[in-house]
């Protein structure tokens, strides 16, 4: 190395600038909590050693999948998908006005905006399985409970993203319509929603994918769909039937995701 390239022995900056004891303590506490959680709640090495062969055993008993009840399983899968579609449709339609009420600059009053945001937060925070349990008690066993649970879950997700998409739209067209004397609804329907539509379509397609996955497991708590079939198959140790159910669910989820991706590319 030539003298020119050799680094000059000047003053080096400290590796940590403005060391903050509070930040250091917090980082240490979080790291300690993660390690503690792993050791208490996570599987032990012994459990993993015993569990892995069991998983292998179950998998081996699943093959070859039993196709004897395939027609009934496919029909059940179709009903599950209908449940996802219905729940998603209700949730998305209701998410549009809820999103408008929650959007800054579009909501009629700050108090209404806060209320709408809080409602969305409640919908989002409570897991879909808990909503399903609530609706099973409210409307009884079966797909109506599942549809309602999916609708609420979709609203918790979509209304928030719809509100953000609407807030992020260009203010110019809104100003132009306001300048010509249009009313607020006219402004929203003519300028805001068309501009936010690509993002809203992407969110809706993602919601459909999410709802399809959710509709499969909601049956486990009695909210209709193919989840009931899966639970019964496992309860009866009919692992080959369970394998068929899992495979058709996998195909449905992949099909919805692929179609969603294709539609996103086409529409947006």
């Amino acid at each position: 190395m030539t003298d020119v390239m050799k680094p000059k022995g000047g003053h080096l900056p400290p590796r940590i600038e403005h060391a903050n004891p509070v930040a250091f303590t917090l980082t240490f506490a979080v790291a300690a909590f993660i390690i503690w959680s792993l050791t208490t709640a996570g599987p032990s090495i012994d459990q993993l050693a015993r569990g892995l062969p069991n998983i292998g055993n179950i998998l081996s008993r699943m093959f070859p999948p039993d196709l004897e009840r395939l027609d009934r399983i496919l029909w059940s899968l179709f009903q599950t998908f209908q449940m996802a579609i219905a729940g998603c449709a209700i949730g998305l339609v209701l998410s549009v006005p809820l999103g408008i009420l929650a959007a800054e600059g579009l909501s009629p009053h700050p108090a209404i905006r806060t209320a709408a945001r809080s409602l969305i937060a409640v919908f989002r925070t409570v897991p879909d399985l808990v909503w399903a349990l609530i609706f099973v008690i409210a409307v009884g066993l079966g797909s109506p409970a599942g549809v309602l649970a999916i609708a609420i879950d979709v609203m918790g997700f979509a209304a928030r993203f719809f509100a953000e998409a609407m807030e992020e739209t260009d203010k110019g067209p809104r100003e132009a319509l306001s300048a010509l004397g249009a009313n607020k609804l006219g402004m929203i329907m003519s300028a805001v929603l068309p501009a936010a539509s690509p993002s809203m379509i992407a969110t809706s397609l993602y919601c459909l994918e999410k709802a399809t996955r959710a509709s499969v497991v909601l049956g486990l708590v009695g909210a209709g769909g193919i989840g009931v079939e899966l639970k019964v198959a496992f309860d009866l140790f009919a692992y080959q039937t369970a394998a068929t159910i899992i495979l058709v669910i996998l195909m449905l989820v992949i099909a919805v995701e692929q179609t969603g991706g294709w539609l996103r590319r086409k529409i947006i």
Partner: protein
Amino acid sequence: MNIVAFQKTAPGEAAAPISAGAAVVSVRGLSKQFGAGPLVMSGLDLDIQQGSKVAIIGANGTGKSTLIRMLVRLVEPGSGDIRLLGEDVRTLGAAGLKRLRSRVGFVFQRHNLVTRLSALTNVVHGVQSRMSGPRTWTQLLAPREVRAEAMHCLERVGLADKAMARVDTLSGGQSQRVAVARMLMQRPELVIADEPDASLDPKSGEEVMATLAALASEQSATLIFVSHRMEHAISFSERIIGLGGGRVALDKPSHTVSEAELTRFFHHD
């Protein structure tokens, strides 16, 4: 400069039609300050007559855009009085302001169109000055007579063949002409344009200005426009108003002003 006595209009009372030669804009002692910043406008007085074409010029920061936006309260006025089309702008309630705005066509520098929608739908939006509901949201739902009028407006700006084209596929000049067509759809009595030529190349800018001036002449409508292009200020107006120091610093008939004089005005202000 004419002085017009201010007369309060009772809320809800329809303003009388403005006769030719009467002042459509009358501003007295208008001041404006944004937050704790310097005064953008300080005691500005101004009258603009019905049917006239007026260019407002001035260096950056002299309050040209602020002034024309305050006329329709897109920017809230500070102190002073503004009378527009016979209405006392500062005292209007929400409904009165909406009514007043529906009589004023505003063309923006950035066109302010919904770019994902067709030119025709954007022009149909102009009818929201006098109609409401889903029939005004898109050309798809618009009544036959609204679609026909929107097509006529597009024809007048030479864009009938682009009616179904998405605005984001049009050139800057075409896009601004769609904005002019939307303004025409309003059937305005007064046209205000905030640097309509600013974001366009020289040829497109000139075409847009020529279209605006011709349409204003056809309808005997008043045209007030802000422009940084001195040749446009001279060619397309009858009167040039220069802002400086928060007031009207130049007010002359356009045919008496040369580009060199305007250049000096910009540099000395």
